[in-house]
């Protein structure tokens, strides 16, 4: 479904991604893990068209995405939940969700999808007229995911959805991610919580200093001595 071929990305003089190759098949949960500053967020931002690759290719169902605008990429079915959630804090929860459906014009279908989001996250329905900035971290994460789903993505990019959340809520978020995948959405999950991510994913890539260091079956990596020592806290 998505293929990154020999991707190089720079921030000025900083060479953030070096020769990154990565593949996601339809229906999978693929996780990209690695230390802080390794380049995980940059991978997602480049797929979404916010950063531009210096060289290499991004292929989505055979189509090259490199020169597409961020808004075209959303229309093609890729939706991105950014690191730190980035809800529109001074807008209400319903307005945030409305923004998620920005590229769509099928009003009655949007209404149905909105009802689905509210049944997935009842807490959002209760507070739909409240400003998003007043929600707790976990609720903001749910809002950010709901907002991303409203563009009807075929591929959902999630950047550290567990960041800063209490363990119980992290469990909820991961179970929601699995549910979304079961409904047919392919997922690329970026995480620092490598343990949880590997348990949830089918396949995994480990990125180190902007390069893909290790790739493989998630279950296998979970039991790999080298990975255990380096990323799973021994």
């Amino acid at each position: 479904m998505l293929e990154l071929q020999n991707l190089h990305v720079y921030y000025g003089a900083i060479h953030a991604l070096r020769n990154v190759c990565l593949k996601i098949n339809e229906g999978e949960i693929v996780t990209l893990i690695g230390a802080n500053g390794a380049g995980k967020t940059t991978v997602l931002r480049t797929i979404s068209g916010i950063e531009k690759a210096k060289s290499g290719k991004i292929l989505y169902n055979g189509q090259e995405l490199n020169s597409r605008s961020a808004s075209d990429i959303v229309k093609l079915g890729i939706s991105h939940v950014p690191e730190g959630r980035r809800v529109f804090s001074a807008m209400s929860i319903s307005e945030n969700l409305e923004m998620g459906a920005f590229t769509r014009s099928d009003k009655s279908q949007i209404k149905k999808d909105l009802d689905n989001i509210f049944s997935l996250f009842p807490v959002l329905l209760e507070r739909k007229n409240q400003l998003a900035g007043t929600l707790s971290g976990g609720e903001q994460q749910m809002l950010a995911i709901g907002r991303a789903l409203l563009s009807r993505p075929k591929l959902l990019l999630l950047d550290e959805p567990s960041m800063g959340l209490a363990p119980l809520i992290v469990k909820d978020i991961f179970s929601i991610i699995r549910d979304i995948n079961k409904e047919g959405t392919t997922i690329l999950l970026v995480e620092q919580n490598a343990n949880m991510a590997l348990q949830c994913a089918n396949r995994a890539y480990i990125i180190k200093n902007g390069r893909i260091d290790i790739e493989g079956n998630a279950q296998a990596l979970l039991n790999d001595e080298q990975v255990k020592n380096a990323y799973l806290g021994g």
Partner: protein, 294 residues
């Protein structure tokens, strides 16, 4: 008391002009963090378009107002595309220098075409004084027109910003540009809409001032532009209600200071208030620090 009410109406009318111009400053700042120093000159262009339409083509007030707003919104879009878009990711000082250059270009470009002399704007509105409810309060009809047009435009703006897709995308971009992009919002289009709306309001202010004072010149945008900028900062730059509040606040203050004997000091009072506000509430009177939640 009668005197006070009359002066309040004058103040609200002057404040309307400041508020209309301040809105454009604040909307543009909210979306691209740029102080558009050419904004006062767009107001001047609006006045000249109104002048040309009414003097040479004999348009009446409302059609002239509408076409002026349209011309200014197109001018605003062009200025952004030609001058500001190429330097969007440059330093703030580069942006500032560009904005000042655009301002000088509009002022002296206009002077080249229409000469530097002051022109007489036709009296479009009935210059009539009315007694309010048979009291001694005398009101100038033109003030009421200014206030009426301003309030209507603000109501329309409010509607656009809070109820339409374009307005919501403007708010989203000003809150978080990257997140807005991830929603599929086209940033370039949204910035164009913002310049169009802000410039249209300045154009309206230009026509209103032309009909009120009956005289216009190519440098007429400098002083009100600066005052409106002060108003936007007092209210909290980037915050739309702040611009409205700051505009009316400054207009009323200046009028009352002049009316009660201090006309020489009115500018000094304005800038003293600005300094005071910046010392006490650097984000403006309606500004607040939005804390991020984790």
């Amino acid at each position: 008391m009668d005197q006070f009410i009359q002066q309040m109406v004058n103040g609200i009318s002057l404040g309307s002009i400041y508020a209309l111009i301040a809105l454009g400053y604040t909307m543009v700042y909210g979306i691209i963090n740029l102080i558009n120093f050419a904004h006062g000159d767009i107001y001047m262009v609006g006045a000249y378009v109104g002048f040309a339409l009414t003097t040479f083509l004999h348009f009446s007030f409302f059609p002239a107002l509408f076409i002026s707003m349209l011309v200014c919104s197109i001018l605003g879009i062009i200025i952004e595309k030609v001058a500001y878009k190429p330097i969007r990711n440059s330093t703030r000082i580069a942006a500032l220098i560009t904005a000042i250059s655009v301002s000088l270009f509009l002022e002296y470009g206009m002077m080249y075409f229409v000469k530097a002399e002051t022109r007489t704007f036709p009296a479009l509105l009935p210059n009539k004084q009315i007694n309010l409810f048979h009291t001694n309060i005398v009101l100038d009809i033109r003030n009421l027109y200014i206030i009426f047009v301003t309030i209507s435009l603000m109501a329309i703006l409010q509607y656009i910003i809070y109820k339409t897709k374009v307005g919501k995308s403007m708010r989203a971009v000003s809150l978080d540009r990257d997140a807005a992009q991830l929603m599929g919002i086209d940033i370039n289009k949204t910035i164009s809409y913002t310049f169009a709306m802000g410039s249209a309001l300045a154009g309206a202010a230009g026509v209103l001032v032309g009909t009120y004072y009956n005289s216009i010149n190519p440098l007429m945008g400098v002083a009100p532009g600066l005052k409106a900028f002060v108003a936007a900062v007092i209210g909290g730059i980037g915050i739309i209600p702040g611009a409205v509040f700051g505009g009316f606040f400054l207009g009323i203050t200046e009028t009352l200071v002049s009316a009660f004997g201090g006309s020489l000091y009115k500018d000094a009072v304005s800038f003293t208030i600005l300094i005071f506000v910046l010392l006490v509430k650097p984000n403006g009177l309606l500004g607040k620090n939005i804390k991020e939640k984790v």
